[in-house]
């Protein structure tokens, strides 16, 4: 039983509303000094919103917050930081063009921080010292855009430590880390908790939450479901708290479908990334008819570029892409589409749809050329198609003319999928992070579509940063690291997958 003196953060009756949705509904939350407290819930449960309320980014419509027994009301993020509450966000709040040192100086309000003249070099020694102490090594001179995503996260954490954070909140921190890096992070978090800080760990992944936390608070649909001690919890008990009912996850059964001939063949592909450096370095892969090939890997290793190359959005320096016998010899989305390649991009709102246009137009984004009478559009047919798609895929919308950006994440993804499937059976489907940010029901739906596609003979290439998803839906697993692919020999070995994700699999391959 925790008594009042050791409570660090106390949030009571927090309610936060946005147009059309109640993100937090009378939520109570409490974290003690020296503990790692997990905030668990599926996507959309309200975890991030709650933490934004705590850190002053949002203002709660109702409720109270106290810090170490004293009531506080933060009206801006700065006030929270000054009170010792720091957050490591999913989208980092770093200035990309600045160096690590400059970013730290930016937030510095104490002592030297109050001076008019600045000198980032003074911060360097502290950066190195902190980096060593907490296993977060980073070069203070490096510019943020030069760092890997994992290193950028270290900078965010260092920033919080530099500010002497007493309460540290991390929002889904392992989504950008390999399993080994995640373990190191957990050690760092335990170290910080041991020093008397409070760590709040937001996640939707049951394993992690069990591994790192002392207590777990579960949110569902904006409401508090309950707070348990990790020692007393099991994966099943947490899962049912999180979702409210037992969910049957459809998994790909081993040796399920007889797979057919090779449909997608990629050989020795070399392509450049946006910065001009090589993003794909000799990638080769094949996908057979009805097969699901899952590509794992931490973001930034070339997955996006691979998907773009196959779907014709990125030109390649060297190498070939073949669909069946047809060679796709230059990058053109129309040719890829005509060859039967469907694409569900990871960047839904940016590449997947034109956000301010109506749903009916987005549903026709790839096929409008076929639905036209010469240069004129067949508007009535387009509208009928749209209505049919909305019904078939159960897209929740107020009508086909609704602005696409207003849809929820899950419905948005349904629009993208509906569009790709609308032209009939696909030969190849490339899906990049298709369930990122979606709630459990939507994830289920998307997975069903992927599995149905494979069952009907489509060759599915799934690229995802979510290992659970990879493990659930695969006939073969490939791992992407720094522009190169390697194939996982033993799909049950998390250790092998993890090693490959960190790039240290050469030993494994050589030994065979």
């Amino acid at each position: 039983m925790a008594d009042a003196a050791t409570i660090a953060v106390s949030m009571r009756g927090i309610t936060k509303r946005f147009p059309g949705v109640v993100a937090n509904d009378r939520v109570d939350f409490e974290a003690a000094v020296g503990e790692v407290h997990a905030l668990l819930g599926e996507n959309g449960a309200g975890k991030t919103t709650l933490s934004h309320v705590l850190t002053g980014l949002y203002r709660a419509d109702e409720g109270h917050i106290s810090l170490y027994g004293k009531p506080v009301r933060f009206t801006a993020p700065r006030e929270a930081i000054d009170a010792g509450v720091c957050m490591v966000h999913q989208q980092f709040r770093l200035v990309e063009r600045f160096t690590v040192a400059e970013n730290l100086v930016l937030g510095d309000r104490r002592g030297a921080g109050r001076s008019f003249r600045i000198d980032p070099s003074a911060v360097e020694s502290q950066v190195r010292e902190l980096g060593e102490r907490y296993r977060l090594p980073v070069d203070p001179h490096a510019r943020i855009w030069q760092l890997s995503v994992g290193e950028q996260q270290r900078v965010e954490i260092l920033n919080a430590l530099y500010q002497n954070a007493k309460v540290l909140i991390l929002d889904e921190p392992t989504s950008v880390l390999t399993p080994d890096e995640a373990d190191t992070l957990f050690e760092t978090l335990r170290q910080m908790a041991g020093e008397g800080r409070t760590v709040i760990f937001i996640s939707h992944k049951l394993h992690e939450v069990m591994a790192v936390s002392d207590r777990i608070t579960v949110l569902r649909a904006g409401r508090l479901v309950g707070t348990v001690r990790t020692a007393d919890a099991t994966l099943q008990s947490l899962a049912s708290l999180m979702v409210g009912h037992d969910i049957e996850t459809r998994r790909r059964s081993r040796g399920a479908q007889p797979v057919g001939p090779e449909v997608l063949t990629v050989e020795d592909l070399w392509a450049d990334g946006d910065r001009g450096t090589a993003a794909l370095k000799g990638v080769s892969l094949t996908v057979r008819e009805g097969e699901i090939v899952a590509v794992a890997g931490v973001a930034g290793n070339g997955q996006r570029e691979l998907a773009e190359a196959i779907t014709g959005l990125r030109p390649c320096r060297k190498g070939t892409i073949r669909v069946g016998d047809e060679l796709l010899d230059h990058a053109d989305p129309r040719t890829s589409f005509d060859a039967g390649i469907g694409y569900v991009p990871e960047d839904r709102l940016g590449t997947g749809v034109a956000p301010n246009l109506p749903i009916s137009m987005n549903l026709e984004l790839r096929s409008f050329r076929n639905n036209s009478f010469g240069p004129l559009l067949r508007l009535r047919r387009m509208r009928a198609n749209a209505e049919e798609a909305i019904e078939r895929f159960e897209i929740k919308t107020s009508g086909p003319q609704m602005q696409t950006a207003q849809l929820s994440g899950g419905n948005l993804q349904k629009v993208v999928i509906a569009r790709e499937f609308s032209s009939g059976k696909l030969t190849v489907l490339v899906a990049a992070s298709p369930t990122r940010g979606l709630d459990v029901a939507a994830v289920e739906t998307v997975h069903s579509y992927l599995l149905d596609a494979a069952e009907s003979g489509t060759a599915v290439l799934l690229l995802s940063e979510d290992l659970d998803e990879i493990l659930a839906l695969n006939d073969r697993i490939l791992v992407m690291y720094e522009g190169r692919l390697s194939e996982v020999q033993n799909r049950d070995s998390l250790e092998e997958i993890s090693l490959r994700m960190a790039g240290s699999a050469d030993g494994l391959d050589a030994a065979r």
């Binding site: 925790a2 009756g13 109702e62 109270h64 707070t227 960047d347 940016g350 034109a354 956000p355 246009l357």
Partner: protein, 381 residues
């Protein structure tokens, strides 16, 4: 008391019309203050304005003279801005269209062809002149990623110098070299009779002359509307205007699209220039205080923005702003200062911009709701 601004889920139809109207009213109110501050009576000034624009005998005809070029430049701006291509060069494209249109009129008219043929060639030539001038920033944008705002705008100044040069500083084909007046003050060569654009007369208010250009303007509006709402071209343009990544994904050939939209925009503006020559000036007007002082290209942007880039609304708004411009020209002098037209237009645009916020967002003024009183923390489960 807290003011929150939140995005609307749906944009109510009535607001879309109400806001531009309210913008004009607000602008007139602010301009009234400016007038008062500089010692003019706003009420009499506005009365004079409306009178000169619409009510006096012959004023409607005059207004059409101002509105016709505005319809062209407004459509040119709307066609491009809708795709987030900020073609500020309608002014220069209009000058170029005037030059090429005048050339066609002078040459072909002088050869003695049928009037319809000469006029048709002027139309084509005018469009071509505008297209060529608009393709310069278009190519620079499509192939070199150069910002089209600056390039199209800088070319306006160049076009102005070319226009002045042709009439004032050289013995060019366009310049009138015969006659006494020619030596005193440089003017453009008058167009032969077959190159003059006819008009219709509406029998009201003592006879209103509707220039042929006005008809072309309406036609252009219909074409633009059809193009954007009913064709593949328009579909692709809309997607590209919204998100260039999605457009690439949809297989839009981005460079080609940029070039075609700029060409379309330039063609319309160029046609406006040909109309200036054929309908009104009947010669090439190279006077720096003539066509170049009117600022039709820039006013066209105001028209397009106020009309929210809808082609038919552009025509309507062009008529109203044309009235304003006409009144400004007629009344210019001590009682109606030069520059007031630009001031009012600017304020109208400011208000329209501010009103945009109201269309997209809802503003709520409310009290902060208090939560339950804090109780002592309960032990965790």
């Amino acid at each position: 008391m807290r003011v929150t601004v939140e995005r609307r889920l749906r944009q109510p139809r009535w607001l879309v019309v109400a806001v531009p109207i309210a913008s004009v009213v607000f602008a007139l109110a602010v301009a009234a203050l400016v007038l008062l501050a500089t010692g003019h009576n706003p009420l009499t000034t506005y009365h004079q304005l409306v009178d000169a624009a619409f009510l006096q005998t012959g004023s409607l005809g005059q207004t059409l003279i101002s509105a016709t070029p505005l319809a062209f430049t407004g459509l040119a701006a709307a066609a491009a801005f809708r795709m987030k291509l900020f073609n500020i060069g309608a002014e220069g494209q209009m000058y170029m269209g005037a030059i090429t249109g005048a050339a066609a009129g002078l040459y072909l008219g002088g050869r003695g062809g049928p009037s319809a043929f000469v006029i048709a060639s002027m139309v084509v030539a005018g469009c071509v002149g505008g297209v060529v001038w608009a393709l310069i920033p278009g190519i620079l944008r499509a192939f070199f990623k150069t910002n089209e705002i600056l390039t199209s705008l800088l070319l306006n100044y160049v076009a102005g110098y070319v226009l002045t040069y042709l009439i004032f500083e050289s013995e060019s084909y366009w310049r009138q070299t015969k006659g006494f007046n020619a030596t005193v003050f440089p003017t453009g060569k008058p167009l032969p009779h077959s190159a003059l654009w006819p008009g219709w007369t509406i029998h009201a208010q003592g006879g209103i002359a509707v220039p042929l250009g006005a008809g072309f303007g309406l036609l252009a509006a219909v074409v633009v509307w059809l193009l954007y709402s009913r064709t593949r071209f328009g579909f692709e343009a809309q997607v590209l205007g919204d998100s260039d990544r999605a457009a690439r994904y949809a297989g839009v050939r981005v460079r080609r699209k940029i070039l075609s939209v700029m060409a379309l925009s330039g063609a319309i503006a160029g046609l406006g220039g040909a109309s200036q020559v054929g309908d009104f000036a009947h010669a090439l007007d190279g006077d720096p205080n003539g066509l170049q002082k009117q600022g039709f290209g820039y006013s066209g942007i105001v028209v397009a923005a106020l009309a929210r880039y809808n082609p038919f609304a552009v025509v309507l708004v062009a008529f109203l702003i044309g009235g304003l411009q006409n009144a400004g020209n007629t009344l210019q002098g001590a009682t109606f200062p030069a520059g007031l037209v630009g001031v009012i237009q600017g304020i109208i645009l400011f208000s329209a911009l501010g009103g945009e916020l109201l269309i997209r967002h809802r503003i709520r003024i409310g009290r902060r709701v208090k939560g339950p009183a804090p109780t002592s923390p309960e032990p965790a489960a």
